[in-house]
Symmetry: C2
C-alpha cells in the first residue's frame, strides 16, 4: 500500500513539474514561482548545479551529454541520481558514516547471518568499473511518452566500485546455498521511516555479474546519496538491480511479487519463455505479470555521440566524432559505426579504449568534412550480434524502459 501511495505521489509531482516547466517555457509563470525549483546542488549537497532536477523528492537528477563527455570516470558530482526512496539526511555526496550498519542474510541458506560494514571492509575487496544506468534512461524519446521521469540521455554514468563479492562473503562465512534458491531478494533500509524497497534478481545473473556489496566509489567511501554505506552492485545490469542502503539480502525460490518487481521495471516477453522481444503497439496497455514480462535485468547495447554536441558548430575539415558505447558485458562490443547519410552507408569507428567488459568503450570516427550541415548517427554491435534499433520506438513499452534507439546528432561544420 505504501508503495502505491508513493507512486501516486510521484505521478502528482511529475505532473506538477511538467506543468511548471511547460508554463515556464511560454513565460506564464511568475519568477518567484520559478525560483521555487531548486537546483541540483540544493537538492543534493555536492552535486554539480548543471545536473537537471527531474524530481526533488525522492531525488532524481539527470546528468548531461556535456558532463558525460568531460570525464573518463563520472565523478560523484556529475553522476545521475534515481532514488525511489530518500533516507533522511542522506542527500549528500559525502559518505554515510553509520558504524555498525548491518546487512542481514536469510532465506534459502544453511546459516542465516548478519554482517556489519566494519566486517565487510576487512574482507578481500574487488574493484570493477561499470556503466550505471537507469532503465528509464531515454524514456523521453518514446512516442507517445510513457509516464515516469522524463529522462533524455543523462541517466547514465561510468563509475568504479570497490567492495566485497557476494561469493567472497558467503565463502568467508562458510555459508551454502540451498539448491532451490533461484533469486536474490534485496531490501533497502527503512531507516527514518523510509518506504520499503524490495527487488529480486536471478542468482545466475548475480553470479554472472560478480554481484558485490560495494563500500566505495571512485576511490572514496560510497557517497550517501548513491547508497552508502553499502550498496549492491551487479555489473552489467540496469540500476534498478543495484539496491542502495542495503539492509537485507534473502535467497528465495521465486521473484518478489512486490510493486517494484511487478508491474514496475519490466518489459513484455513471450510468456514463460523470456524471449525478450514482443513489441507492443505504441500507446497500448499491457497487463504485466511475472510470467508475461521480465525485469530490467541486463543492460542492452547502446552508444552515444558526446562530441560534437547536438547543435554544435565545429571547425572543419578534420572533425573527430567521439563518444561512448556499452552493453551488459556478456560479449565484447565488436564494432561501433558512424553514418553521416541517414544510414545508407556506415563506417567503422576506432575504439580508443575500453574500461573493462562492464565499462564503456571510448570511440572516435575521424572525418574530413566540408562546411555544411550534418547529422551523425552511431550504432554499436557486439560479438554475438546484438545491435541497436534504427527506430528505438519499436521497443515502445507502457513504462518506457530500456530505450536504445540509434542516436542522431545534428551539427554544423564551418
Amino acid at each position: 500500500m505504501k508503495d502505491k501511495n508513493l507512486e501516486q505521489l510521484e505521478m502528482d509531482r511529475r505532473t506538477f513539474l511538467k506543468t511548471t516547466a511547460a508554463a515556464g517555457a511560454v513565460g506564464l509563470m511568475g519568477s518567484s514561482f520559478a525560483q521555487q525549483q531548486p537546483t541540483a546542488d540544493q537538492v543534493v549537497r555536492g552535486k554539480n548545479p548543471k545536473l537537471v532536477v527531474l524530481s526533488p523528492r525522492p531525488v532524481v537528477l539527470e546528468s548531461t551529454l556535456e558532463l558525460l563527455g568531460s570525464e573518463r570516470i563520472t565523478s560523484k558530482a556529475n553522476l545521475f541520481v534515481r532514488n525511489n526512496i530518500d533516507l533522511p539526511g542522506l542527500n549528500t555526496t559525502e559518505p554515510n558514516v553509520q558504524p555498525g550498519w548491518e546487512v542481514e542474510f536469510s532465506g534459502l541458506i544453511d546459516k542465516p547471518f548478519k554482517v556489519t560494514v566494519e566486517e565487510l571492509s576487512r574482507l578481500p575487496q574487488t574493484e570493477v568499473t561499470t556503466v550505471l544506468q537507469c532503465s528509464g534512461n531515454g524514456r523521453s524519446f518514446f512516442n507517445p511518452r510513457p509516464s515516469g521521469n522524463p529522462w533524455t540521455y543523462g541517466g547514465v554514468g561510468q563509475v568504479t566500485w570497490r567492495g566485497v563479492l557476494l561469493k567472497t562473503l558467503l565463502e568467508a562465512k562458510g555459508v551454502n546455498l540451498d539448491p532451490k534458491a533461484r533469486f536474490i531478494t534485496m531490501n533497502a533500509s527503512t531507516q527514518g521511516g523510509a518506504a520499503p524497497y524490495e527487488k529480486s534478481f536471478p542468482i545466475s545473473v548475480m553470479e554472472y555479474s560478480s554481484a558485490m556489496l560495494a563500500l566505495g566509489m571512485n576511490g572514496e567511501p560510497l557517497p550517501a546519496v548513491h547508497g552508502g554505506p553499502v550498496r549492491l552492485v551487479a555489473a552489467g545490469t540496469f540500476g534498478t538491480a543495484n539496491v542502495k542502503w542495503i539492509a537485507k539480502v534473502e535467497f528465495t525460490a521465486s521473484e518478489s511479487s512486490g510493486n517494484e518487481q511487478v508491474p514496475r521495471y519490466r518489459v513484455p516477453v513471450l510468456p514463460g519463455v523470456n524471449i525478450p522481444i514482443l513489441p507492443t503497439q505504441p500507446g497500448s496497455r499491457y497487463n504485466y505479470t511475472l510470467e508475461n514480462s521480465r525485469s530490467n535485468w541486463m543492460a542492452n547495447i547502446n552508444s552515444f555521440i558526446l562530441s560534437p554536441l547536438p547543435g554544435a558548430s565545429v571547425r572543419g575539415r578534420r572533425v573527430d566524432i567521439r563518444g561512448v558505447a556499452w552493453n551488459d558485458g556478456l560479449a565484447p562490443i565488436e564494432t561501433i559505426e558512424v553514418s553521416l547519410n541517414g544510414g545508407t552507408t556506415w563506417r567503422k569507428a576506432l575504439i580508443e579504449r575500453d574500461n573493462g567488459k562492464y565499462g564503456w568503450y571510448h570511440w572516435v570516427s575521424p572525418q574530413l568534412l566540408a562546411p555544411g550541415e550534418y547529422e551523425a548517427m552511431v550504432r554499436a554491435t557486439d560479438a554475438v550480434g546484438r545491435t541497436q534499433p534504427l527506430n528505438g520506438n519499436v521497443w515502445w513499452n507502457e513504462r518506457g524502459y530500456e530505450w536504445n534507439g540509434i542516436m542522431r546528432v545534428k551539427f554544423t561544420v564551418t
Copy 2:
C-alpha cells in the same frame, strides 16, 4: 533407450560417411565402394540428385546455394530433409495417402479428442510461407566442428504451407485449455515400428507462430518425406519444432524430459532466466539441463549471398550481388547490408521483395566493380536490433546449433 541406440547408430554412420568421403577425396577408395553411396533421388524418390546425402537412413539431404537461388519458393524436389526417424515406405515426395490417419489431443484440456485428416481437411485452411531450417544448419562452420550432420548452408528452404491452425481446431472442437498448460508436447507416429520422437514447445511460441497442422505444401498435398499426411508447422521456429507425421498432441505443464528435448536441440543460457547468450569456450563440454539451456525455438536472424556463388567468375562492371535474409518474424528485417572491404564500410542493399513476415527477404546490392578479386559479406538487421555476429564461432556450442555468422563469398570480376 531406443533413442540412445539411434543416436549411437547415427554417430557410427557419420564416422563412416566422413571416412569414405575423405578417403574418396584422396582417391584411396575403389570405385565399386564409392558407388555404394546413394544419390539423393535414390534415397528419396522425387528428390533432385543434386542434393547432398548427409545420411541415407534416417534420411538427411542437404540442398545447395545454387538450388536455393534458382527458385522463389523451394520446390519439393530441392527442399532439404532432416529426419530423426524414417517411417517405412515414406521416402518419397509423393503424398502419404492414409485414410483415417488420426491425431490424438490430450493432456491439460477439458475434452480430450481425436481428429482425422479427413476432418482436418474440411476445417478452414490457412496458408503461410515460412523459412524452414534445421537448427544444425551451418554446423560445419563451427570450429572445432561439433558432432552431428555436417551441414553447410543447405539445411534451409522457403515453402508455403496450408493447414488448420491449432487455434481453429480447438475452437471447432469447443475445447478449452487448462490455465496450467505451458507446453505442447508432440509425438510423431511410431507406425511400422519407428522410434518414438517427442518434442515440447511453449504454448506462447506456438500461439505467436500461428502453429498449424499442415496438410499441404506448395499447393500440393504434403509430401510423405516432409511429414505427410499431417505435420505440425510453427512459423518462425527452427525445424525441430515442426514434428512430422504427427500422431499425438499433448498439452503439458512442463517440457518433455526426453532425449530430443534435452540434451539434444538446445543451446546454453543463463540458468533460470533464458537470457539466450552465454558463449561457451569452443571445444568445451556443457552439462545441458532444462534450466541451464533452452530449446532451439525461434530462428535467429540470418542472410545468404546466393549470387555470385562462391568462387564464381562474373562480368563487370555492373555486378548485382543478390541473396536472401530471414528471421523469426517477431520484428521485420530493416536493413540488409553488404561490405566488400572486410567490414570497414557497409552499404544498404535494396529489398526486392519479402514473402510475409515468416518468409525470406530477397535483396540486391548493385555494385560497379573493376576486374579483380572480391570478397562480399552480408548482414541483416531487424527492427529490434538483432543482427548477425561477424564471427559466428562466438556462438560455439557443443552440438553446433543456431549458426548465423556473417557469410563471406569470394568471387572474381572479369
